[in-house]
């Protein structure tokens, strides 16, 4: 009898909890790989009684393709980079919100509110920002590394031991910076130069890979690896004797943003999640995990010292980084041809 009673209580309790979870609903996130700590998702889930599911992608373009191929309406939020926010907004993939709908909106650092890719933050909030450059294994090469020649005209010691990101936008942006030509140039001679530069550099490259960018540096397969700043810091923590370069010609900076997707099945929970990520404590948790820099005020005191003082998170005053531009259709077509020629 007693046992029966216990079972009944348990069943009722289960039914009740299940009921609550259903009432509070779900949240479906489309995010980069290795970019948010599981504990943070659990914390949100617990605080708001929301079931969180997450899928991951490894490039802005892959995310866009998947959304366009019919995934719209199944995710609530996604995390595109700067230029991709602009593209998605132009394609009508983003919903808008009022700043009053997020009680923590004021936590966004002033310089990250009126950004070019989303003026006044109508559809997005800052997630993290960082840079794209490359790291060099100091056991293999001891000379000056602060030049993009390490990738595009590499010294003999590292030839054939270079991994570049499998990301057309970042590779061609860095190549343009190295040549000193504007991104998305329409000048034919400059485009030819760009094509020749990457063609001539390719024999020195061992591989193209984004998700493996950290691993090849840690294992020593690559002596030079094009990489994102925080990913490089993680590689260093995992024991690679590498140094992150700030090339004198310049490098790429980017900001990833949490966007509210159009037709989000759980719009309210999406806004709750965005508000949650604007809490300094939670933004700092992401930074401590991914080792990039938050766009939220008052996170500095909450950071681990190693992260706060890492060379990857503290770029020098000069040179400054540049955002990747979204090219016009006409130029993009030439870029695609250059990329196909590069990998044919």
């Amino acid at each position: 009898m007693n046992r029966k009673l216990k079972t009944t209580v348990a069943a009722v309790a289960l039914a009740l909890t299940a009921g609550t979870a259903q009432a509070e609903g779900n949240l479906s996130i489309y995010h980069w790989f290795e970019y948010i700590p599981q504990e943070l998702l659990d914390k949100f889930s617990e605080q708001h009684g929301v079931t969180v599911t997450m899928d991951t992608f490894d490039s802005n373009e892959a995310m866009l393709a998947s959304l366009k191929a019919g995934k719209m309406g199944s995710y609530d939020v996604a995390v595109p980079g700067d230029y991709m926010v602009e593209i998605m907004a132009a394609d009508g993939l983003l919903d808008t919100f009022e700043s009053s709908e997020l009680s923590n909106f004021g936590n966004i650092m002033p310089e990250w509110v009126d950004v070019g890719f989303d003026k006044g933050r109508k559809s997005s909030i800052p997630y993290q920002w960082g840079s794209t450059s490359f790291s060099v294994n100091r056991n293999d090469y001891t000379g000056d590394i602060n030049t993009l020649a390490m990738i595009f005209d590499p010294p003999e010691e590292v030839q054939g031991k270079i991994n570049v990101l499998d990301s057309q936008g970042e590779v061609l942006a860095l190549a343009s910076i190295y040549l000193g030509i504007p991104q998305c140039t329409t000048d034919r001679d400059q485009l030819k130069q760009l094509n020749e530069l990457v063609q001539n550099a390719k024999p020195h490259w061992a591989s193209f890979g984004s998700d493996v960018a950290k691993d090849v540096l840690v294992s020593g397969d690559a002596s030079v690896g094009m990489i994102w700043s925080g990913f490089s810091a993680k590689a260093r923590e995992e024991g690679a004797n590498i140094e992150y370069a700030y090339p004198k010609e310049g490098y790429v900076v980017w900001m990833d943003n949490v966007v509210l997707l159009k037709d989000a099945p759980n719009r309210d929970n999406a806004l709750k999640f965005m508000n949650f990520l604007l809490e300094p404590e939670n933004a700092a948790a992401v930074t401590n995990f991914a080792q990039y820099t938050a766009g939220v005020s008052n996170t500095t005191e909450l950071l681990d010292d190693a992260v706060k003082n890492s060379p990857e998170s503290n770029p020098p005053a000069q040179p400054v980084g540049t955002f990747v531009m979204a090219c016009s259709e006409e130029v993009q077509k030439v870029y695609d041809t250059i990329w196909t020629n590069l990998k044919k």
Partner: protein, 307 residues
Amino acid sequence: MAGVIQAGGQTKSNTYTGFGPLLLLPSWLIIGFFLLLPVGMMLIYSFLTKEFRGGVIWEFSLAAYDQFLFDRGLFGDDPPKIEWTYIGIFWRSIWQAGLATVLCLLIGFPTAWFIATRSGVNKSIWLFLVTIPYWVNLLIRTISMKFLIRDTGPINEWLMAGGVISEPIHMINTAFAVQLGLFYSYLPFMVLPIYASVERYNFALSEAAADLYASRWTTLRHVILPSVKPGIVAGCILVFVPSLGAFLAPDLLGGAKNFMIGSLIEEQFKGNAGNWPFGAAASMILLSLVLIALMFYARSQRQQGHF
């Protein structure tokens, strides 16, 4: 199938007439939904206009096939020449897939023969061992292979520790690594069908051939191979076709340096190119090539009177 009906013991021809067509429904649904519908969509998409950054505009266009066949220079306004880029990519894939098939056959046939000629329990154990890697996801298996063969991997370290070599043998990110990945991924697809054929082979035939003074080689060529040919053909198709479209091995083991057909198509959907009609057209061309090859094969078989 015949065996199943016999086992039931009921072969009255009029039993199922009323339901016959209905009983085919599951097959038709599967063929329609999983085969005809996607291929049909792909065919239609390949003739549509591409939308900038992925997607299609519903206007008829031959641009995708034009891009495949003609090279109009970096800016698209040179006089058209034959485009060798994609032919080169297809050739590389066909060559790699063909080589993987031949290697799988060379290793797979003796393996299958060995397994099929073991006695009862041993046979099951060997079969079981062959299928074990399949419990693990292909991605994981490919990454493990990468760990094994890289410059700082165990193979190189053992060889160097044993004094066999002084410098690591460079295997990762080469065509050899891609070939190794394909061979390793699809070997069981060769072993299992051949095993099934050899299992049914009547070994009295070999003895009969020997009684008639056939050498071992002659027996293999004129008695064994014709009998187990269906298994070999099935195995070759099962290895060749997926190898042709593989993109995990080229990406992870080959360093994504050179497109294979699979990665070329993937790039059209997932990469910056966002050129869905071209991806669809490349898929259709691949599909047509495979179908044409299979049709030629079937025809040559019919002429030899095998069907």
